[in-house]
Symmetry: C3
């Protein structure tokens, strides 16, 4: 009698679930008469938690491009932590409420004309967002319904599964190098874990942005669907993932990701120092200030 | 004059062979008048060693599903060690004598109602089987002629090459998670070495079982052939591998696998402790005993 | 405002370039009236540096097969170092001036009838060639216009990008095992970084040589073009790579390659000792001397 047969009979798929909720209906069309739904929203993110399904949808809603500002990042980490501690939530779908953009990545305004303390605080918040997302015990699915460069791509590849809109105008990738910037080592590690060493090396050296179809070929995303079906597809995939006993899935996920998480934690402070000393360079600040003034003039 | 040209002329492909035998005829159709053939069989495994070819076929014959019991594992390790020390044997084909199943993996009966010492002994035997197979100096080819979940899949991916029957009913994969169980880290490492980090992460989180054709696409197996040709195909592949000088092949194999083997050896005792403390949990034992009683009633 | 948009406006692609030159015309058809071109040649390698483009072409010209002799390797490392220190050079195309062969790999004559000191010096030169090439700050592109086994393949996979002639007669691979020889660990590491663990394991165990089309499939090369277009294609690709700011590209490259480089540097001396003790074995030397005598007789 092999383990598989016994376990199926004895344990059942839910026997070792760490969380109370069980999979069921999905958040795709919750309306009146459906399972109770809790909302909590802040300035940048709207969270809809359908309790019956145990699935939350986190909608980034910071127009024009869901830039990752300090405020945004802080709210993101707090929202995710809240869900993490909620026994009624077993999975999170991350998506955008802003048309045509998933997230454009880090907010440049946080890097300009501020104190070294501010830069350090900002960078720590970027790290915290990634740590929370990459080590989440919940099932995390990115529903990529728009452009997804740089920090937006990092968010996506930190999830467990990625579904992207089949729109030829959308692209995804770690394009920092194209802009004269270097992706930090933990962006790189997350990418290597997703598409392997060679594809990451070429990708980072050239700062490549992949069309949706190329992203599928190279493995940055797992699935393409028509734009209007991205959320439904994410919900359907979520129900498959939630059919797996939580505890075993969580341990398996942690086994795969812990070395990468530990490596970042070990070098967290030096990574902050690196960022601060880069961004406080006179030449960089000068460029940034010139740019900020141009921005104000345009708006004025 | 480059190394390649010289070595071909001077050394010849067999010059540095560590084992005495040379490749030649193959075990596919040995009959009367062919090279001498030695058999040694025990309760669970039949070994046929064709001396001319230097190739042994290990046939797992423990119906109904070739479960990896303590007895089975012990016999497996002893048989493999015997072949390893036999200078007349350079390659092993691992296959099943039971229709429709390669191996269903670990035997649940070894985990139920026994002492902590027994569980530790059992787990050490599972480790030993893997250590012996993964570090074998011989060429190891899995001829997968049936279903191949969990521990069966581990055996297959620990070989040098995998040929699977093109039967849509057969599947292969590390499906432990589906059953509420977690594959140990060295199962995971062996899988990462075979299909890479991303495919392993998804595979382990979901406990995926792949159809033969999907297994080929993702790289869990190297080749599909019609079911009746699996053994012949394994023999043909074996002759290609045995055309390579043993010593150079063995060093190359060891260079690729040593870090993974060392990692397991370093953590071997704690891995045993982990297993024992999991399996001795009251809740787990209760489930297992209920199941064993049901089993007896069915048979009664 | 996201980083991407700001950086594009403020920094521009050349803002953080570490080298003085900018991309422009390409070395594909430099004739009279074109940008100044500097040549430096030695016995084994011809270097053509087109200053306007900032691109050098290194042509290996040591017939019959561009064997990597001590002289060749020394000249190679010196030439590369020269270009590395030349602020007018940002990229290197590595190719062969000998028809039908890129490079056949290590020169066997350096391993025969010489002193242990000579063997050590030779092996250090092999290591140095790889170190210089793999860690180069310049963009390195292999224009593989002929056969590319063993050490030739190592050179190719150490570049940033590989374009191979679509000629069915040419093959590429680390075929050492076929000759009873073992590729050193840093050959292996470079291959794993290019095609992954599983493909490398099979490749090294069998000493596989891949046809151009198989090499493309497995990822040893990035692109196939008709033979007469290899250099033009390399130049076109180079211009894409040089459009990326040098500094960010260099840091990204180093981030990907440093662990592999460090590992070799850590074990450099023991790697030399391993080689010397292998090559000074009586049995190996005897084989080599027999071969050398045969060679002389043929020529005589």
């Amino acid at each position: 009698m092999a383990v598989a047969r016994l376990a199926r009979l004895v344990l059942g798929p839910g026997a070792v679930r760490g969380r109370g909720a069980v999979a069921g209906s999905l958040p795709r069309c919750a309306g009146p008469g459906r399972a109770p739904r809790r909302l909590f929203s802040n300035r940048n993110i709207l969270v809809e938690l359908e309790e019956g399904a145990g699935v939350a949808v986190m909608k980034m809603k910071s127009p024009p491009v869901n830039s990752l500002s300090l405020d945004f990042l802080t709210e993101f980490s707090i929202s995710l932590e809240k869900l993490e501690n909620d026994r009624g939530c077993r999975g999170v779908i991350l998506t955008s409420a802003v048309p045509k953009i998933f997230s454009a990545g880090l907010d440049i305004k946080e890097m300009c004309g501020k104190s070294a303390e501010h830069y350090a605080e900002f960078w720590r918040a970027v790290q915290e967002m990634w740590l929370k997302l990459y080590k989440s015990n919940m099932v995390t699915i990115a529903a990529i319904n728009g452009n997804c460069p740089a920090g937006g791509c990092l968010m996506a590849v930190s999830c467990d599964y990625r579904i992207m809109a089949e729109n030829p105008k959308y692209s995804i990738g770690l394009n920092e190098t194209q802009l004269g910037i270097v992706a930090p080592f933990w962006f790189k590690d997350t990418m290597v874990n997703t598409i392997g060493h060679r594809a990451t090396e070429r990708s980072l050296q050239l700062g490549l942005l992949y069309s949706a179809s190329d992203a599928l070929k190279i493995g940055i995303v797992d699935e393409l669907v028509p734009e209007e079906k991205v959320l439904n597809a994410a919900a359907a995939t979520m129900s498959q993932w939630l059919a797996i006993p939580d505890y075993a899935r969580q341990i398996s996920k942690s086994m795969m990701r812990k070395p990468t998480l530990d490596r970042m934690l070990t070098h967290r402070e030096s990574d902050i120092q690196n960022f601060v000393s880069f961004v406080t360079k006179d030449s960089i600040q000068k460029s940034l200030q010139t740019y900020m003034e141009r921005l104000k003039q345009r708006k004025g």
